[in-house]
Structure formats: C-alpha cells, structure tokens
Symmetry: C2
Amino acid sequence: MSDAVDAIVDQWVKERADVEDDLWPVQLFGRIQRLAVVIEKSVKANAAQHGLDVGEFDILSTLQRSGPPYALTAGTFLKASMVTSGTITNRVDKMEAKGLVERVRDGEDRRTVKIRLTERGQEVTRAAFTDHLANYARLLADVDRDLVEKAAESLRPVLEALGDTTIK
Amino acid sequence: MSDAVDAIVDQWVKERADVEDDLWPVQLFGRIQRLAVVIEKSVKANAAQHGLDVGEFDILSTLQRSGPPYALTAGTFLKASMVTSGTITNRVDKMEAKGLVERVRDGEDRRTVKIRLTERGQEVTRAAFTDHLANYARLLADVDRDLVEKAAESLRPVLEALGDTTIK
DNA sequence: TGCTCTTATCTCGGTATCGAGATTGTTAAG
DNA sequence: CTTAACAATCTCGATACCGAGATAAGAGCA
C-alpha cells in the first residue's frame, strides 16, 4: 500500500539522501495538505449549490453553531476562521447584500459590530450544512469508520501543539 | 484533552441534535483543514525568506525531487500540484523571469513544454528545502515522534480513498 | 491532402484574499 | 478635559488563483 506522499518521499530519499532523517514530518504534513485540497474542493462544490462560496459558508456555519441569538462580532471570526480582517469585512458585505446576515452595532461599545444571521440566513445555513455533512460522509464512504476515528484522534494532539484556537 | 475541533463539534451537537450521528467526519476533516492552514502559513513564511511564494516553491520542489535532468512538462504539474493550468503558466512565467527555471520545447512533440531547473534554480531549491524541513521539525518539536508517525500512517488509506494522484 | 478529434499549453477577465494603513470609538493618565 | 494609547473595524491596492475559451500541434481516417 502506498499513496502519493509515499511516492514523494521516495523521490526525496533518492535525490536528497543527506536529509533522509529529516523527512518524517513530510509523511504527516504532506498528507494533511493534499487531503485539505481535496476536501476544500468538495466543500466548495457543495457550498456553490446553495449559492455560497466557501468563505461565506464558513461564516454562516460559525454563526449557526454559536447558537441563539446567532450573532458574533467581527473580531470573533478573526480568531475562529484564521483569516484577516479585510476578508471578514468583504465576506460580510456580500452576505449582507444577499440578506443572509445583518450588521448590528452594539450600544455598549460602538466600535464593535455584531454580525447576526437573518431568518433567511438561518434557513440557508441549515440546508447547506445538512448537505455538507452528507458530502463529508460520501467522501469517506470507502474508508473504515474505526480508521477514520483513529485518524481523527491522532490529529488532536498535533492540532493542540500547533496552537490552534477557537471561539469560546 | 480537547482542541478547537472538539469545541466546534460540541457546539453543533447542541444546535443541531438532529444530525449528531453525522458529525463524525468533522472530527477528521475539521482537524485536517485547520492544520493545513497553520502549516501553509508556516511554509509560506519559509518560502518568503528565499524570495519565493508557496506556489513557486511547490514547482521547484517537484522539479528537484523528480531527479536529473530536473525537467517536467506543464501537464505533469497539473496532476502533481492540484491546481489549474493557468496557475502553472503564471508560476512558470514568474520563475522564468527570475532565472530559476527555463522553458524547453521538445523536438518530439512541439505542443509540450518542459520546465527545467536552471543551475541557480537548483541552488535556491536546495537551500529552501533544507530550511523547509527544519521548519517542519520545529512545528512538531512538542509532539511525540511515535504519535506523528501513527497519525501519518492513519491518513494514508484516507488519501488513497479520496483518489489522490502524483507524478509517476 | 484535407478534415476532424484530441492533446497541451496559454490567454485573460473575474474574484477572494492578504496586509498595511486609515478611521472611528474607548480608556486611562495627567 | 485634553491627550495619548489602545481597540475594533473598514479601506484599498496588489496579487495569486480559478476556469472557460483560444491557440497551436499531433493523430487518425478517407
């Protein structure tokens, strides 16, 4: 059994024998990066079926899973979504134009802006996320469930070590 | 022990109890996607220190690991790099201007164009890749080596199932 | 030779993202 | 109450990428 990353590492061993002992992280990171590309394309296709791009779907999902009242500040998205502030502004602009979210200025601190799901935004998100999960399941249809769970478990300490954060 | 993805899944369970049984792929895919972003940022920073962007570094690495004569067709990169043809053209244009690679038209089939590393390209790639591996090791410094290898192993069948390909 | 189908690469308009700096509001010190 | 420092968001130019279509070369067939 060998995959694309095995082939890549084999090539490196031949070409750069001097760093053979330093190639072990490639086995992990190479697979993560290639899997991420495949997954991203699939997520993108699913989002498109609901008239969204990936970034918009990301914002909507974050809002919905935060629970009622489905409102978070722009700053929260910065930490949750791993993108820059300009990107958030742009995404929210587009979704506000579509009527999926609305900006609400807080009376407490007028610098902050809460992004809130509209009724329509909630409906769209609900439908898109349901299909999103079906899409995920389809991608993993040919992989043993136990194996998927083991892989997920083994990545947890790695993600922690690399200092990931999320909304609290 | 819990990470950002555990938190995300917990939120979904509360908000969408109806799909609780379909959330298991999120444990794997969520970690893959978040790890990919962190890794990508780090790879980007390393490439920048050598005057390259990530896409350029990708092309150069693919060329070098292919071994002498360090030449591949544009089409090969399409399969290896998971990007579109326009992207490859653009990357090669920039690197040709920098003197890192050169286009060589094949006498056999004049539609195909081989992209070949120049002497300078080989030097830059060698140095950049050495630092790249050091960077990878740094990212994983706090993670048990056995665990990294187990995680890498567990991702192999997933990558195979999702139909990844590489250059032959 | 002429025609069509296929293959390989390039062109180019559209777009999401980055990232540094500007804008606006808040807090704290003197 | 003025000023400075800080915080949250937005602006905007630059850029890498996508992706559909154009271009150009080879292959098969009459």
